[in-house]
Amino acid sequence: MLNPISLAFKKAKNEKRPALLTYTVAGDSSKKQSLEILKAISNYADILEVGVPHNTPVADGGQIQTSSYRAIKNGIKMNDIFKIVKDFKTSKNSKPIILMGYYNMIFQYGENNFLKKCKKSGVNGLIVVDLPWPENKIFSKKCKKNSINFIQLLSPTTSNERLKSITKDSHDMIYYISMLSTTGGKLKVSPNKILANYNKIKKINPNKNCVIGFGITEKTISNFKNTDGLVVGSQICKEITRCLNNRQNPVINVSKMVSKLRKKIS
């Protein structure tokens, strides 16, 4: 049986479109609201990345930082995040969940405890921004044992040799960082160049689902229709901030945005 993440990719492929992955921060702007947002966008997105907010992020741009600080300020704790995932997973239309964050949060929880809790609450995959290959080998194996996808990251600076080794050690999904940037940067590389790198990765192993993230927005997303999947994060976080500043309902507006994103790649 395919795991839920692979299944989501397969489903999108059958519909001849890339899978749509969203990123929102757990607890932004409150525990309750972030759960509502997940439920609402689940109607349009295929896989949901849930950010674990951290207060010294080394790879996040301004939009996601703002969301993270907001969530931390509102008191979000690791256990609340597991609770949000669990509650989401028992709702209808629930989709695969990937937790994305920094290693210190896992380290403090204890790797084994963390994975146990992931399994219990229904987390399907993990992206650990600051645990690169080969340092992540042991943890990634532990994830596999627990049927949790450990998602390897690749970037434009990754050498060909590394591309091969990392792809070999990866599970069902790989994340290609489109350009040298923190999250939320403007797309400063031509889509063709990004796609060339994407194809290089696909050639190494066509069976791995490769998603592209960083710089993907309403404006740029339609350039990448012939890919396995696309991640939109900062634009959604920005929209939440905009709604809060204008006293609008983020749940409705974010869900509208994700629906539009989906239409652009369908």
Partner: protein, 414 residues
Amino acid sequence: MKLKKGIPVIDQGDKFGFWGGKFGGNFVPETLKKPIEDLEIQFNKLKNDKKFIAERDRYFKNWIGTPTRFIKLNNLTKQIGGAQIWSKVVSDANGGAHKIYNATVHCLLAKRSGKKVIIGDTGAGYAGKMLSMAAKKFGLKCKIFMGAKDIKRQQPNVKAMKKNGADVIPVYSGSQTLVDAVSECMRFWVANCDTTAMCVGSTVGPAIFVRICGWSTSQISRELKVQLINEFGEVPKKIKLYNCVGGGSSSFGFWNEFMDYDKKQVEFIGVEAGGPAKSKRHAAPLTYGSKIGILHGAAQYVNQDSDGQIEETESISAGLDYPGISPLHCFLKDTKRARYTAASDEEALKAYQIVTKYENLRPSLEPSHAFSVAIKEAKKFSKNTIVIINSCGDAYKDRGILEKKLGKKYVKSN
């Protein structure tokens, strides 16, 4: 966990960059793997390259002005009674602090690798000031990331950076101090690592930055060893080396050359920032038993909550106001080679008053922490004990704080 003899401490990490199997490492985004590897290859080659070392020494001598003085504080010795109190006046170095060594080496490396821009973080402003000086000297463009709170409290150094042509970029996230400046600087590097070199301002960050910085500041102890032999004919039988510890660059450099001596002969005492006496907040993870965590790419003892969020620190001295500590110091603590303690804001200010009252020396608030503990302990030592404090920064940058806390008379002659 064991410290090896005969191998520089900076080279005692394992293949993943961990000292003692658990401190340091490279917890970095994939994007930074390549630039870090490039820097490792470059540094490992150049640190044994005679021509490169000669070039470094030439700049250290002619431009930084090494060696810095090693002086006896006669009045203070008399006043305190007990050990002989000496100081290594590292603030003599061009720019007024030890940060110039690391900045110079990073600019030399950047130049060799063809980078046109160099970026750096700063807390007290010294790392930034020195990097801006070195960048100017070597014709590199320079950007300095500095917490908005630190920009306010360390104006003299901010002015110096701007004068040297650097862009000073205020960081408004989090506590708006050094920890956020380092994060922002690393983020900028993630986005620009193809054209830009990064200088981490202390012995923190991914392992290669810890090593480069430690290698650079070790100049301090190399000089001191020669000066001790010139003064006493040998390395004396009982020496105590006191140094403040924030990230840990000056203390590591002050101790490195004496690493293989028995600690009964050469003892290392690191003094962390205890923060205001009445506050629970501090910047002393080693003294107060913080847990191991990951900060800025390295595993280290760090102030954090049970979830792993990094905690805000508090200290009168911006240069020590950092929640973590160099992996090298974690290693020296757990191998028991060095001893760590803390001084409060008030104790540091008191020490500053005592030193400036008796001596023609103006240690900044950072080394004033070390003076505080040294003065307290020197009383109990015998006359043949040599207490040496690294006066690693000059108080000129602190005049605003000193005037506010102690009144005008303490800053007049600056």
